[in-house]
Point group: none
Chain length 360, copies 2
């Protein structure tokens, strides 16, 4: 069932039955090198997680690094499985991939946009992003993007992305204490220390882009540009949780400084129940900090009907969101899928890949 987070039901109702393009931005922040900071920081090759997510959603296979599956069984299956499972029973009309600094996924026949960006650096040493360049490339992408469907879902796969998102929001001066989620059950002191260290490098004279250069990640900056230029031409779903809220806060700050007007009428954020009802974060509070109104929604889907223990970990607070899982669940529901049908498809999708490479 689709629930309202902020705003009213009209925006989401207008998407019922509509065709969507699903865009996945793949990026990572070397902040993930810090042991224990992130859900993914103990993965042997966390930087291959974004192309792996891309392979899962596009072709239902893992190619870039099979061994990562070992890490995934230790943890919770990536939300890419949720998106893939929806796509198998109620397909998106287009899935496209945006490479913001990762190894390219090993898939043919799917649109792959590349910009030769380097990965975002570890924020404790300065993320070292040419933020203005990344932002301009995002603006240009949104301006020239060939619209193929009724609306566009912008999703992301960014290991350690919530840490850079929180660091950015705080660098921009928002009081976001306790608002940001993580893929771990609870936030760690390691994470708080890293953010504090990152923020200590911010200087009073830094403008928005200087701040973003030091503490953000490529996805946040690139998508800010995309949203600003593309939302004039089509409806956009930000498929994600507090990272997408941070993206909106970045846009809010850019508008604030640049003094231009911004029409949020065409933009919505869609996330999961695990984010919307998370006790350790507060996405609603983040969205209410915006100077513009935003309609936002979540699917109340959970894994109560699942046969797989790994997936049930979502219900106890792990993983929560990512790879547009919440937007995909809502997309499925907007096309009439019910909870049992969705659950069975996710179970099957996970089992299929796990059984292909190892015993579950």
């Amino acid at each position: 069932v689709i629930k309202i987070l902020t705003g009213n039901s009209d925006f989401i109702e207008s998407l019922r039955g509509k065709r969507a393009s699903f865009l996945l931005a793949m990026s990572y922040s070397r902040t993930c090198d810090i042991e224990g900071i992130s859900y993914f920081s103990s993965f042997s090759n966390y930087h291959l997680k974004p192309p792996l997510d891309a392979e899962i959603i596009t072709v239902g296979d893992i190619r870039s690094d099979i061994s990562l599956l070992n890490d995934m069984t230790k943890y919770t299956p990536t939300p890419a499985f949720i998106t893939r499972a929806i796509h198998q029973i109620m397909p998106f009309h287009n899935i496209e991939l945006i490479n913001l600094g990762v190894k390219s996924p090993e898939v043919e026949y799917f649109e792959l946009y590349g910009f030769n960006f380097l990965p975002s650096g570890n924020i404790t040493d300065g993320a070292n992003i040419d933020a203005m360049d990344v932002f301009k490339k995002g603006l240009e992408f949104g301006k020239t993007y060939d619209i193929k469907d009724d609306y566009i879902v912008l999703a992301e796969s960014v290991p350690s992305g919530t840490t850079s998102a929180e660091a950015l929001a705080r660098a921009l001066g928002y009081d976001v204490k306790g608002c940001f989620a993580t893929a771990l059950k609870e936030k760690t002191q390691i994470r708080e220390d890293a953010i504090k260290k990152a923020l200590s490098k911010i200087e009073a004279s830094d403008d928005i882009f200087a701040k973003a250069s030091k503490v953000a990640d490529n996805m946040l900056i690139f998508y800010a540009g995309v949203v600003l230029s593309l939302s004039y031409r089509t409806k956009i779903v930000l498929g994600g949780g507090t990272q997408m809220a941070a993206l909106l806060l970045l846009i809010n700050s850019i508008i604030d400084v640049m003094g231009g007007s911004f029409d949020s009428h065409n933009i919505t954020l869609i996330t999961t129940k695990w984010i919307a009802e998370d006790k350790n974060s507060d996405i609603k509070k983040l969205l209410n900090m915006l100077d513009f109104n935003i309609n936002s929604y979540y699917s109340d889907f959970d894994f109560a009907l699942s046969q797989l223990d790994g997936l049930k970990k979502y219900d106890s607070g792990e993983a929560k969101e990512g790879v547009g899982a919440g937007a995909s669940l809502v997309y499925g529901e907007l096309h009439g899928l019910d909870k049992l049908t969705i659950t069975q498809s996710i179970d099957k999708t996970v089992l299929k890949i796990f059984q292909k490479y190892k015993e579950v």
Copy 2:
């Protein structure tokens, strides 16, 4: 199951799997002021029923007048619930609203066409419509309409619309005795008296539009224009019962007088079983009066599997059709929905709204 009313199965088969735009014309006739004439004449605010129907089908909520729900529980849930229920499990690609003289529905994000028409008057005093103006605006709408899908469903919500439809058909000289349906179980003497009084105002010198000005309603005249200009460019489903048949009779008369040719190849009428098998009306006879051939169909759906007594009243002859219910049922069946799935969705849709505002 989809049944043939007139013609053969080929037209409807050509719509299988096709995407549809669903257009709802909202209008009312002050004929509804006559107590006991109509299903809706005892509603406290019958003139808000069309925007309410629009709110139900687009956003699954009632906003313009919650108190109308009290009237609805006394009677039978509006057929808007059927259309909404189909839309939730097999969505139309677009739902658009046409305001022909009602309070605008309180929904955002849905296309709403307006023409500043006044409501049609009470036919016993003369409907007082500028029929030529309404017709021309319909022609222009059909000519310039931006076609978004494979075909278009033209549906209506017009309290007291069957009375003006019958009055128009009789004014145009068709022998339609016993042919017209009503949302009440049976036609009343009040209704017959009103029609006779309306017809007494018709003069021998009145042309088609002069007659329509006196006894029709905005929907019939506007849609006649739309069908005449739009059917050259796309397939059109008239979603309704004897009112839509009256619309075709009006077109028939216009063609007859204007001497032009008319290609009915692109037009079909789709209704419910409750109309097609109604003992107190005869839509087939109306369609056979046309000088052109028309393919028409109905869904044999009924509420035998429903858990709700209110809905079962349809099976004993109440409400019957409206808000494109028959066309919606057929649309669902053309996309593979079975009776139980449809029934459960309608039950759920009704319960959800009723429980939101009151105890059922």
